[in-house]
């Protein structure tokens, strides 16, 4: 076994022992045991560095793969690491962009403004004007953020994944582990990690997001400077403003944070239901309230997609959920790939109705509580969660968390009701749908009258 393999094994063993201790060697209640395992896993990911932190972050948006306890524990992963010395960052920029930052930019701040396990960000100013994809001109001297992949991180991830591949092979031969499909799971994580390491993908997703919301004056997406962007360097417009933790200051400056929170919820609905592309990692650090009162979206590393039929079904699920109609919500969920065996359907329906009454019928609604209960219910009935469904459900909870960070009283369900209702009404009144459904509706109405 390689030295790295041994180090990983040692951390895994320590974490396993810690989880066993905290769960009373399996004697504590189930939820407590699951929480103990989730916590041990989060600490292990943090101890093992970038690959595992990233894997943990990817798992935290996938309730279709891990338990709800794991999802909500892994989203707390601390991705703060010491900064890489600026000379090493200069080397990456020189290798990637062909010249030292001092020659490429009018100014380059050697102090990073953000550091994370995969990349760190430095502020700079443009040496020459640049016409962005959206047609806007960034003047010479414009402030930009230069995100640089940490040197050596790709090698480290490749080595870690080689170890993980060997372990996945072994796990595939153990029956109770094989049901998770470790090989397939690892391949999926590998491709997600590869996408995250290629900063051009993030830049393109951001540009597309900006195009989708070009008509929304309250949405700000930093434009990418493609002449200064490659696989390992992403240069984009600087977003100046307040983090969600600094909103007090923003409000003192006259920003209407509540209106922004409601608008942010609608922006999310438009991403999912209209454009079919959404920011799936919308945690507070990826949102900035700009000085002119807009919502700045950054870091498009994890994005989700929805197809037109899925969008139609999601709108139906959301409206049914908003109006507390468990039966309709489950029926529409089927179109999203949720397969509910006939035998468990009544129990699931009444469970969902109970959760709706407990979490959504109050003001403000508690989407997180509802989703946690719902995922638990699906696990209890051994119902597999389709990938897109899981990611979307988690994104919805994250949006609620972010909206609450801005306005603690916001009711995501109430805020999204007008939009989703309008959308479903528009879907129902489409001429082709009317043509398709009207004869049946008239026959049903006549049958009812003649009954």
């Amino acid at each position: 076994m390689s030295a790295r393999g041994r180090a990983i094994a040692a951390v895994a063993l320590r974490s396993g022992a810690s989880a066993a201790w905290r769960s009373g060697f399996g004697l504590r209640p189930r939820a407590e045991r699951r929480r103990a395992v989730a916590r041990a896993l989060r600490l292990a990911c943090e101890a093992l560095g970038p690959t595992f932190i990233k894997l943990g972050q990817l798992a935290s948006v996938r309730p279709d793969l891990v338990t709800p306890e794991m999802v909500f524990e892994l989203e707390r992963l601390q991705d703060r690491v010491p900064a890489v010395p600026v000379d090493a960052i200069r080397d990456v920029i020189r290798r990637e962009l062909g010249a030292a930052p001092e020659h490429l930019f009018a100014s380059f701040d050697p102090e990073p403004i953000a550091t994370a396990s995969i990349a760190q960000v430095h502020e700079a100013t443009l040496a020459a004007p640049y016409r962005c994809v959206n047609g806007r001109l960034l003047e010479a001297g414009a402030r930009v953020a230069v995100k640089v992949v940490r040197p050596g991180v790709a090698r480290l991830i490749a080595d870690d994944l080689a170890v993980a591949r060997r372990w996945a092979e072994r796990a595939e031969r153990i029956r109770w582990l094989a049901r998770w499909g470790p090989n397939a799971l690892l391949r999926e994580f590998e491709s997600s990690l590869a996408r995250e390491l290629d900063l051009r993908v993030e830049g393109r997703v951001g540009d597309r997001f900006a195009f989708d919301f070009a008509d929304d004056p309250l949405v700000m997406v930093p434009a990418v400077v493609w002449t200064h962007t490659t696989r390992s360097v992403l240069t984009s417009e600087f977003v100046d403003g307040w983090l969600l933790s600094e909103l007090g200051e923003a409000e003192r400056a006259g920003i209407d944070a509540r209106a922004l929170a409601t608008h942010g919820a609608e922006v999310f609905m438009r991403q999912v239901l209209v454009f079919g592309r959404y920011h799936a990692d919308l945690h507070p650090a990826n949102l900035i309230v700009t000085r002119d009162g807009r919502i700045g979206y950054i870091d498009f590393g994890i994005a989700g997609r929805t197809t037109p039929p899925q969008r139609q079904a999601i709108a139906q699920v959301l409206v049914a959920t908003a109006y507390g109609d468990a039966e309709r919500a489950l029926r529409a969920s089927r179109a999203l790939g949720l397969e509910v065996p006939e035998a468990v359907e009544p129990a699931l329906r009444s469970g969902v109705a109970r959760l709706m009454r407990a979490h959504l019928a109050r003001s403000p609604a508690d989407v997180r509580g509802f989703v946690t209960g719902f995922l638990g219910l699906l696990a209890e009935h051994r119902i597999a969660i389709p990938e897109g469904y899981g990611m979307l459900v988690k994104a919805l909870v994250t949006v609620e968390g972010v909206a609450r960070a801005i306005d603690p009283d916001i009711d995501l369900i109430e805020a999204s009701k007008p939009f989703t209702t309008r959308l479903v009404a528009a879907q129902l009144l489409r001429p082709e749908r009317l043509r398709e459904r009207l004869p049946a509706a008239l026959r049903a109405a006549l049958a009812e009258l003649m009954a």
Partner: protein, 118 residues
């Protein structure tokens, strides 16, 4: 069964009366001059009926001229313009995105050249 027939007869009667009422409103409305609102809301409704009837006749003519297809009316033309503008914007974006990709690739090529020359 008799109840159902009675219901359908009532429906036909309502339809017939509405039709007669509609024709009368169109005739009354056609006789009004613009801004003529002596009878208040009734004149307004009659005028509106006459306008809708005129539009209906125009639509009939358009349909006949188009051999059954719907010829572009003013609203349809606006919609087509909006669709064309949206399509143009989408193509413009694709083109700009492509430019971005090429700029990024060019930077990588230049960087490799610079590295080789060092």
């Amino acid at each position: 069964m008799r109840d159902v027939l009675r219901f359908l007869a009532a429906w036909a009667l309502v339809h017939e009366s509405a039709d007669e009422g509609w024709r009368a409103a169109v005739t009354r409305g056609a006789g009004l001059s613009p801004g003529d609102l002596e009878r208040g809301p009734d004149d307004f409704v009659d005028g509106l009926a006459a306008l809708v009837d005129a539009e209906k006749e125009r639509l009939k003519r358009d349909l006949a001229a188009d051999g059954g297809g719907v010829a572009p009316t003013e609203g349809a033309s606006d919609r087509r313009d909006a669709d064309l503008t949206a399509a143009l914007e989408a193509v413009r974006f694709d083109l700009a995105e492509l430019r971005g990709r090429i700029e990024s690739l060019q930077t990588s090529v230049d960087a490799l050249h610079a590295e080789r020359d060092d």
